[in-house]
Amino acid sequence: MALQLSPELRKKFESLKQRYPRQRSALIPMLLFAQDELGCVPDQLVDYLADDLDLRRMEVEEVISYYSMLRRRPAGRYHLQVCTNVSCLLRGGKQILDQVQRHCGVPPKTATDDGLFSYEEVECIGACTGAPAMQVNYDYYENLTPQSLNELLDQLQLGNTPSPTRQTTDFLKQQKPHSAEVRVVGRRFGLRNSAALTTYLKHDGYQGLEKALKEMTPEQILEEVKRSNLRGRGGAGFPAGMKWGFVPKDTDKPKYIIANADESEPGTCKDRALMEHDPHQLIEGLVIAARVVNAHQGYIYIRGEYRYVMEILDRAIAEAYERNYLGKNILGSGFDFDLCTHTGAGAYECGEESALMESLEGKRGYPRIRPPFPAVVGLYGCPTVINNVETLSSVPAIILKGGEWYADLGSERNGGTRLFCISGHVNRPGLYELPMGFPLRRMIEEVAGGMRDGKKCKAVIPGGSSVPVLTADQLDTPMDFDSVAKAGSMLGSGAVIVMDEDTCMVEVAQRIAQFYAHESCGWCIPCREGTAWLRKVLDRFHSGGGRTQDIPLLKELAQNMLGKTFCPLGDAAAMPIISFVDKFRHEFEEHLRTGECPFSRDAAAVATPL
């Protein structure tokens, strides 16, 4: 069977190949776009791409099998991807998965006989404040209930595709900001057509860039950002200004700037909203950052699941080119900068900056040996600045209103505001922009409307699933990097996952372990084997097969991983497990005592195979 590609796809291929200094970079987008058209990646496509990009067949195969969105066998016309990660788990994600499973009646990733449906359990899709959620192909359906799911499936069965429901981001349009909120990066969220350039320009858009290009030297911009105390919003909280300062000035090599839009830390959905509602703010931030380090090419590496967001970004980029906010001689300043989006294809590990660069070069997303760090040897071996979307989106306001103004919004050494993604058992899950240092208790009780059904809060994950859990008696912690660290956890990505008294902490730990086992890239031994081992022990433990010695074993295994893995993913898997065992040991013991999950009526159904 000969490979049939539409003329549009071939055109797309050609344009993708133009985007990068090395054609291989186009491989993953080409695979994904071709899969969208062909339903999967057939052998002929592997051969075609290997030939087209001058790669060996194996290099294409290796890439395909790494990324979870790419598949070699066709899925159904509607591929139902149900998230059961922590935020969704807390709000009925498993029941949604059960319902989908029953509806399809086939094994995961297998099309039904009529070819209409297939399904799989997926990891966090960035719909945490709209949980439980699933994606049908690229469309989001959030806040699902058994009834709404039934209706959706009925419609799909009839061949209708209902409009997506994007509770996570629509929420920002519908709700007025909470009185405690201080909207900086989110100040255009409620506006009509907030993503449009015209809207952006009416509301301070590109004024920071004009100021930066016309009134400031790159050194002055850098100083301003340093003054702002802006710290990386991806999770590590590294000062952005300092990171930019590491880029060597005297080099013949081209420099690159990358927006890390591979948002995948469970519980985190802020970058999705920032790009959907205010794409120009990110573009403006990128151009300013590029100016500082004198980079002339930028990429927005966006996770593959966020396809509609990428389309919004692509439109915004085209608008920005039309108005010369991108391209040659921007605003007459003599500064050139080109920007394009780049889609991932399903891999949490690619949020790690060096793995992201490998992925952007068209390879498996394995992290790189460091040093050298990306600021010196990054994309294509060249100096590269890479920042999270929220970090870069904060830059225009900092330039426009001053670093000091921004710093003063937050707490000491923690400048500005932060988009917190409050999910789980609260009355009003949502994205809220709050000053750094805002107390956790107020966040839950005031901003998010308090605990659902008047239940008590048992625990909070303050910064995405990779950080140690906090207990109810730690709710007075101010939410900034340093205070949360003092409380023994991390502010991470700003994903605040709130759990009530009925939550089984063993189950949450199990789900977290399942996630890291699924996302471990497999490069180094302690992470590859450790995440899988933790997951297996917790699966068994939660489903009633626990042994007394498993409790210390879990902790020791996690400690044996800690600090010894190639990249931080091993730590990310180990830290929460250690904290769950330490802080909720009694719940583990309770499981042992009763031989089943004390919180679940159907404990055995919890552990679903990967």
């Binding site: 194996m58 290099e59 590990e349 040996i369 471990s520 084997e529 297996k536």
Partner: protein
């Protein structure tokens, strides 16, 4: 010790050491005798830092660091034996063993397994893992390679050696996380590759095993004999793993040969021809038109009687000898001496696969201009004219790739085919087939009949070469006769010292030429026409030498001038493309063949004498670069005899016994009298490859066309021997076009 600019002083486990700057900590530790364990670190391959076995403590660094990625820094204080380090190693091994099947009692690797050794040294006695292990059934990737998924520890050595060192990338990494596995490149789950077996050899555990060896024996039940490979002209050392007088596999884990750890499929698995069922085990004598078994006494008596009779009746000029590309130097020397002194003929030749004589002539007086195989991997610039080293010279191709990969060497290629080494080349000039000599003329700037575009490319190539220095020039059989001298004339004016390698096909192609299996040359390329030289050899051999050059191979085979033809270890009927009839060889009264198998030529013979293979005898081989190596007998030849013995016995039966009683005695005579062969016996005995450099001192006479040609064996063929290797015949790549590789 003082710290110089190029050395760094650091402390490892309390001991101050000095190592060159840029050294990796793991190597620095090794140099002090503190072995830091590792699976994924492998010298020469890219760094992985994946196995985490080499974690060590470095003072002032909070976390343990991988010694394989840290470059030594002055004043660094390193501890490799602290409780924390020991604990980390133990933990890593515990993780590794979780999904390992622990099937050591039946695993091929048992007894030579790095994982076993590490667990023995650093591991915990018991496992805490009670979960179900990841499992997948074992897969046969190819007729050579098996993959046992559960045993794999994912060190990715195989993937890297296949990609980086072999430039094949037939193995890759599939899936991720704990499901990560090694995958082969064909969609049906099989391999399409060079079947070199490097992946198997480099595997620290029993995940990759060979069909030839698996489940046959235990490592401690075998004898290990290191000897030069019997196949191509590169002279790799292969350590034959022998049990019950049968070669089970070859490898070179001790890395002592010129090839380091490299071997191709032939060196590893194609020793199996020695026990092929069709192997000749007793002499055959034609009776009533049929070849029938005979005793050695009978067969040799028959040969001596008839050969002598024909020589007497029709004259020595009607007797011809065709020697072999795979017999030892001593055998070739003995044959030359027998033919010239006992029979008294110069009708002596062999299938010439490179024009070594022309090179020796062109290099007169400058023995240093021969490059050794190892020189290639350190070369800064290489010019390759003709040949396809990937297929014809796998070791030299490996060395060329490693020069390019590790030292940024510049490779220039002039070839009529788009050979695989083009991937490493800085410039490839494609020329029409047969235009190699013209291309060399074009390099000189002389007018030629090749296209203007190609001439332009050659001019560019020339300009690039003129900027290089110490170029190594390799040329195949396409370049012969005066073209060799023209190539040398061109390249000797390049900056630095240009050195050369003529690329001949088989294990002792070079030795055959060096020992004078040529109608117009005595051993060491001494010219027959030169009376002084002739006199020297007459003294050495104690007999008069015919002064008139003899017939060359083509004349012997097609000219109907011979009445007796004596063929040793070669198959001219096939090689020279003759019809498979006795008549095609002229009106021969006697055809004698020494062979391992009943080849097309042997089928036509009156007497076939079963000969021992290179693995069943002593002696020396000279590889295509001129490196002499000693053979070590790995197998008991049983009833067959070495060619040396046969010739010697024949001289007895003839009535003019040759005085050289043993291969050692013959080699001593070679050392004494063959120019360039005065090599160190001690080094040879120690198993080293010793360079020899015969130079004739006479410009080469032009070699007629049709005499020098390569059999152009692929990686999966090897002349007669290859036809009887089950391993070589089993691989599917054999039938693929070469351009696929």
């Amino acid at each position: 010790m003082s710290e110089t600019q190029n050395s760094v002083q650091l402390t490892v486990d309390g001991r101050a050491i000095d190592v060159p700057s840029g050294t990796l900590l793991i190597e620095a530790c090794k140099s002090t005798g503190h072995e830091v364990p590792s699976f994924c670190y492998y010298p020469g391959l890219s760094l992985q830092a994946a196995c985490r076995m080499c974690l060590v403590e470095i003072e002032k660094t909070p976390k343990l660091q991988t010694a394989c990625t840290v470059v030594v820094q002055p004043g660094m204080i390193v501890r490799t034996e602290t409780p924390q380090v020991a604990e980390a190693r133990k933990n890593m091994l515990e993780f590794l063993l979780t999904n390992h099947p622990l099937d050591c009692p039946v695993c091929d690797k048992g007894g030579e397994c790095e994982l076993q050794d590490m667990v023995f040294r650093y591991g915990a006695a018991e496992s805490r893992f009670v979960e179900e292990k990841e499992h997948q059934p074992e897969q046969q990737f190819s007729p050579i390679v098996y993959f046992d998924y559960p045993r794999c520890i994912l060190c990715f050595r195989c993937v890297r050696v296949c990609d980086e060192a072999m430039d094949v990338k037939a193995l890759g990494i599939g899936q991720r996380g704990v499901r990560t596995l090694i995958i082969p490149n064909r969609p049906d789950g099989t391999l399409e590759c060079e079947e070199c077996g490097m992946c198997i050899d480099i595997c620290p555990v029993g995940a990759l095993t060979s069909h030839q060896y698996r489940y046959k024996t235990r490592p401690w039940e075998m004898n290990y004999v290191g000897t030069p490979c019997a196949h191509c002209g590169d002279g790799c050392k292969t350590t034959l793993n022998v049990r019950n007088n049968q070669i089970l596999r070859g490898n070179n884990r001790d890395m002592t040969g010129i090839n380091g750890e490299f071997l191709c499929i032939k060196g590893r698995y194609a020793g199996d021809f020695t026990h092929h069922p069709e192997r000749l085990r007793q002499p055959l004598l034609r009776r009533n038109g049929q070849l029938q078994p005979a005793s050695w006494e009978e067969a040799l008596g028959f040969v001596a009687q008839h050969l002598k009779e024909i020589t007497k009746r029709s004259g020595p000029r009607t007797v011809g000898f065709l020697g072999s590309n795979r017999t030892t130097n001593e055998e070739n020397y003995l044959l030359a001496r027998f033919a010239r002194t006992v029979v008294g003929t110069n009708n002596l030749d062999h299938h010439r696969t490179a024009d070594f004589a022309a090179l020796a002539g062109a290099l007169h007086g400058e023995p240093v201009r021969y490059a050794a195989s190892g020189d290639l991997s350190r070369a800064s610039a290489i010019l390759l004219v003709g040949n396809d080293p990937t297929h014809n010279h796998p070791l030299l191709a490996w060395n060329i790739r490693s020069a390019v990969r590790q030292h940024g060497a510049h490779l220039y290629i002039i070839n009529s085919r788009r050979i695989k080494l083009r991937r490493q080349a800085r410039q490839l000039v494609e020329i029409p087939s047969g235009k190699e000599a013209a291309a060399i003329e074009a390099l000189h700037g002389a007018p030629t009949d090749i296209s203007a575009a190609t001439q332009q490319e050659l001019a560019t190539l020339r300009a690039a070469l003129e900027k290089e220095s110490d170029v190594i020039v390799l040329f195949g059989a396409e370049v012969f006769g005066s073209a060799v001298s023209r190539l040398v004339e061109f390249s000797r004016q390049l900056p630095g010292v240009t050195r050369y390698i003529a690329l001949g096909d088989y294990a002792n192609s070079r030795g055959a030429a060096d020992m004078g299996l040529l109608p117009d040359r005595l051993p060491g390329y001494a010219s027959l026409k030169d009376a002084l030289t002739r006199k020297k050899w007459e003294q050495v051999w104690g007999a008069a030498l015919p002064s008139e050059p003899g017939l060359h191979a083509k004349q012997m085979l097609g000219g109907n001038q011979l009445r007796a033809l004596y063929v040793i270890g070669s198959n001219p009927v096939r090689t020279f493309g003759l019809p498979q009839t006795r008549e095609a060889l002229g009106e021969l009264e006697l055809l004698v063949v020494h062979e391992l198998f009943l080849t097309e030529t042997a089928r036509l013979a009156d007497v076939v004498l079963p000969a021992a293979s290179a693995y069943e005898k002593d002696g020396t081989f000279t590889n295509t670069c001129g490196e002499v190596q000693r053979l070590k007998r790995a197998l008991d030849p049983g009833a067959v005899r070495t060619d040396f013995e046969i010739i010697r016995l024949l001289s007895y039966a003839w009535g003019t016994p040759l005085p050289l009683r043993s291969s050692e005695a013959a080699f001593e005579e070679i050392r004494q009298h063959v120019r360039g062969y005065r090599v160190s016996q001690a080094q040879l005995v120690a198993g080293q490859a010793v360079r020899c450099a015969p130079t004739s001192g006479h410009a080469a006479a032009d070699t007629p066309p049709g005499l020098v040609f390569s059999a152009d064996d692929s990686l999966f063929t090897s002349g007669t021997l290859g036809r009887y290797s089950a391993a070589l015949n089993s691989v599917s790549e054999r039938d693929l076009p070469r351009s696929r590789l």
